[in-house]
Symmetry: C2
Subunit: 419 residues, 2 copies
């Protein structure tokens, strides 16, 4: 299996030693074991790509195809991306912010931002000619790989921690993949998948396809800038699991600057973690780029990666741009979910609760200024992690089907409302 060399897409390049490789299913440098990243010929893209062309493109992440490592004219499209950027009214007021936006990535085909990376990964997988795809997942990725594999006709193997939230297990199972629960943490699952990837010639979306896969996250930056009228925000808050999402959103803004679509890329990038799994936040607090792996202990399972593959690069992006990495407790993240729902009508999973909790903390500590243009990334749906907010059900009041009972049990408690 061999990649096609395109003049728009240049190479795979080692982030450490700079050695370049052909566009093949590789993810680490043969020489220094550094991670490989896709590079582009930006001069050529600048010549051929216009904002007009994007505006007339599909209403999905494929409107930015020329900035993605894809050759085919017919990418795998379940309708992922170009999700709403919602101007926050109530939450902004509650936090004392002037201009806050929420990027609502819950409304993707499998209800998380993972559809972005998987759309790109499985399109590339098809280009490479594989027939079997696989992934290690904390849930959302598995959902997305299973759904896209169903559509594309791939055999799929989804590896997840056996103790995952039922909602996230079912939402993989429903698409009919080979679904394998591994007794252990996500890091155990990941290690096992690396070993299996060495034995079988499959496309592991977050192992040998990872350099292509990760590029899909850039589209969150592209959409944000386009939806703001081709301007980058002042500050973004992004949940950190492996760190890949954060580094790629950073790369996205930089690329838009490079092709002269936005005036500058001075966006400050901040990361959000759960205190029960905060290796990147801990390193940031200790002013070190050395990340010490931890054993996760948080309900925010979708971002509970104790040994984050791109943690170092995430820290670099944060530090270079003047951002922060902060963490919140499980109690604070639950509050974050509820705050977002009752102010903006968006129901997020635990990771979004972390993002909102950290946003609040950064504002309260003065690290985010009230006049910054801020974007918070809500990366997945609350319905997959209902366990976290089940006590909201206590709000249900039961009555008999009569006006008398309604007046008596409900309105009597709140007499100002019977107006």
């Amino acid at each position: 299996m061999s990649g096609v060399r395109s003049s728009r897409i240049r190479s795979l390049k080692c982030r450490e030693c700079g050695r370049e490789y052909e566009l093949e299913p590789l993810h680490v440098c043969d020489f220094c074991f550094g991670p490989l990243e896709v590079t582009y010929n930006y001069e050529e893209i600048t010549r051929s790509l216009t904002k007009e062309k994007i505006r007339n493109g599909p209403k999905s992440l494929w409107r930015y195809k020329e900035l993605l490592p894809i050759e085919t004219e017919d990418p795998l499209d379940l309708g992922t991306g170009f999700t709403p950027l919602i101007r926050s009214t109530n939450l902004a007021k509650e936090l004392g912010l002037k201009e806050l936006y929420l990027k609502n990535d819950t409304v993707n085909p499998t209800f998380s931002f993972k559809d972005r990376v998987v759309s790109v990964a499985l399109t590339k997988t098809r280009e490479f000619g594989y027939t079997t795809v696989a992934c290690a997942s904390t849930g959302n990725l598995g959902n997305s790989v299973a759904a896209h594999a169903a559509k594309a006709g791939f055999e799929s193997y989804i590896f997840i921690p056996a103790d995952l939230e039922r909602g996230k297990i079912l939402t993989s199972a429903i698409y009919g993949p080979n679904l394998i629960g591994v007794e252990g943490s996500y890091d155990d699952v990941n290690r096992l998948c690396s070993e299996i990837a060495n034995e079988y010639d499959w496309a592991f979306v977050n192992i040998n396809i990872r350099p292509y896969y990760a590029e899909g996250s850039k589209t969150l930056a592209f959409e944000t800038a386009e939806q703001l009228g081709w301007v980058a925000p002042d500050h973004v808050v992004i949940p950190v699991a492996s760190g890949s999402l954060l580094t790629k959103i950073h790369k996205g803004f930089e690329e838009l600057h490079q092709i002269r679509f936005i005036p500058d890329s001075k966006t400050r990038i901040s990361g959000a973690q759960a205190t029960g799994c905060a290796p990147v936040a801990t390193a940031f607090a200790n002013h070190t780029f050395t990340i010490r792996p931890v054993k996760p202990n948080t309900i925010a399972k979708s971002i509970a990666i104790g040994n984050p593959a791109d943690g170092y690069y995430a820290l670099k992006a944060v530090t270079e741009t003047g951002g922060f990495v902060e963490s919140v407790t499980d109690e604070e993240l639950v509050e974050g979910i509820k705050l977002l729902a009752r102010t903006e009508g968006i129901f997020s999973e635990t990771a979004g609760g972390v993002t909102i909790g950290v946003l609040k903390k950064l504002v309260e500590s003065g690290k985010i200024a009230s006049d910054e243009v801020i974007v918070a990334y809500i990366t997945g749906i609350g319905l997959k992690t209902v366990e976290a907010v089940e006590n909201a059900l206590e709000g249900l009041q039961v009555i008999k089907p009569s006006v008398a009972d309604f007046n008596d049990k409900i309105l009597r408690r709140n007499p100002s409302l019977g107006q």
Copy 2:
């Protein structure tokens, strides 16, 4: 409270006696008790509205604002609508169809098509000056009203059957409404709400705001036609609860023809019900327009309306266009959910399972021809009704984190895959 008379929006008109009313919060004719419907000045709309204008509009249902009964320039927008129309590849093949599309309305802000009607209803509610909104709901509507009320700052009362799926209760509760579980069926809830609506001056989205509310469903027809390149499909399959959705999709295609956006509106309209609550399908089978109310007994609770308010008009639309109303059992609807997921990567709630089940049945009985351009409407997310497909969890296989265990427990059972 009084409506504003617009030259584009003409009146509320009784569907029975034709008497016209000002644009106020009314829903039945004072004289004959017929339902009121919004009418427009199509000549004026034809003069002012262009496809170009729509194409450059927002990426939401508000791109069709000029065909909706709204005056404000600043409608309530959580990003509803303009959802993907997915060309079915695998399901079409499995059913022997040439050109099948799936309108994926699971990716709305609260994950069902109800966000369409609620966006319109609550925008109108704000125009009327109400501060309290309410609804009777089988779940999805309550979710949407609660979320939109949170965003708009309305006090909200959500009335639901107390025995609803937990997923649908939680997804209302999370947005912080007054959430009232009524001991009884949806029809009991609905009756209670009508009584309460008589006592308090609130905006009940599906009672006194209903004529405006219902118009939101037309956008499903508008989007379908636009996404097909301004052509109406030959045949559509739509789940039937109150019947409002079906009649409004029909109206939508007719309006597009009226303003000369599509060459004709010969779309055949077919309805889908669950056998356990199929009053419209039964009337259709019996060649009568008299619908006998039934007591619902099906897991498809979101469409389990035993006494459908618009059932008569739905039947009329079906009959006039040469469509059908068919029903499927709970077992068949569960198969429909699974079939859709494993072929197209879309995870639908029970109503979508009904739609797919009925589509299959209509094809197999020769009522849908294999060369028709068909659109099936998938109106809500599977994550709210996981109970229906919980046995899919049986697909999970658990192993220890070792390659040996993987080879032994998983691959040994399927030796062709270790290639």
